[in-house]
Symmetry: C2
Subunit: 207 residues, 2 copies
């Protein structure tokens, strides 16, 4: 089965700019992408990267300069079903979680992400378009149901945690063990717990 | 199987005080508790509430005025194995997710929560103590591994999302359909998406 991984190769992970330089954001995004590609392969699927610019990767790269929503809808116009999408910023994703997505019953199967996002999607029907702006999980549910399709969700923490904001880096350090977690450790990041509430990260001085 | 649900009956959900009054926090916490009890029953298990004060509930209530960590360690001293704990602020929890926890192999099985928390735990061995302060999922993993136990995690979004902070209320409205979601809607809360990033909530004026 083919799995498509959209990737912003131009200016990725802008919401991490308070904590990473532009070059670092690029390198960290590529480390997360490598983790996702490995999980896809671990689920016996074939990853394809849907990138906004040419990249040298050990996976086929489809270049589409348009934004995420338009590029994915372009893919939905052309590709055989099912069209399976997994976002590139899911370094916690396990082989098992990806296999659960690719094998799930349903016409449209989505993995919800924190804050209303859609972090992965399997589209088994022809007449479905995506919209990743706003509260996309609700939009995708409504579009599927309104068209009479069977909408299902995949309940996985490791697909739900996309890495967008500085505090999310703690999730990588705690729950991932691939390139992205290694990159953060090499660049001085560590988990820091305050006395109450959720943990965050700190970066060693000089790193 | 018995499942224990710790509950702070005195001053619950303090991190919601910017958005809910003390009375509202109490009512919302009890609505979330009701959802968790229903999911436990849906998983063919028997819920017991481990409360900091007496409560009138349709489930057995064990009163222990000590804090969460000491009350749970007191329970671990007395109760038969496995001791299964599910936190009371998981209104997204499904029957399937609870059943996955109660049936999982392993000596110590944990459901990670956002920000380093431990949202549910199944302890099958005698010599294990909990500590819910700080980065508890890492502490629990280390304690189990150091004692030679097989530590496993349960990968479920619906167990990972505990409701502590105002933005978490959006998760309840998007993904839960029980008492807690109903309570929020009755009290004027709705999901609001800005153009970028994760959704939050807004409350209708006058509610």
């Amino acid at each position: 089965m083919d799995v498509y991984v959209p990737f912003d190769a131009i200016d990725p992970k802008r919401r991490l700019e308070s904590i990473l330089t532009a070059d670092e954001r690029g390198a960290f995004a590529e480390a997360m992408l490598a983790d996702v590609l490995e999980a896809v392969r671990g689920a016996d699927a074939t990853p394809h990267v849907l990138s906004t610019a040419p990249m040298a990767l050990d996976a086929p790269v489809i270049v589409d300069e348009r934004g995420l929503t338009r590029a994915v809808n372009g893919l939905l116009d052309l590709a055989d079903r099912p069209v399976v999408l997994v976002m590139a910023d899911l370094p916690l994703a396990t082989d098992e979680a990806i296999a659960t997505l690719t094998s799930a019953a349903g016409d449209v199967v989505a993995a919800p992400g924190i804050g209303g996002g859609t972090n992965a999607l399997a589209v088994h029907v022809e007449d479905f378009e995506v919209d990743f702006h706003g509260c996309s999980i609700e939009d995708h549910r409504r579009r599927a149901v309104d068209a009479g399709h069977d909408f299902r969700t995949v309940d996985r923490y490791t697909l739900g945690i996309d890495i967008d904001e500085p505090d999310d880096l703690a999730e990588v350090l705690l729950h991932a063990d691939g390139d992205a977690a290694g990159w953060l450790r090499e660049h001085g990041f560590d988990v820091v717990a305050d006395t109450d509430g959720r943990v965050g990260v700190e970066r060693a001085p000089g790193d």
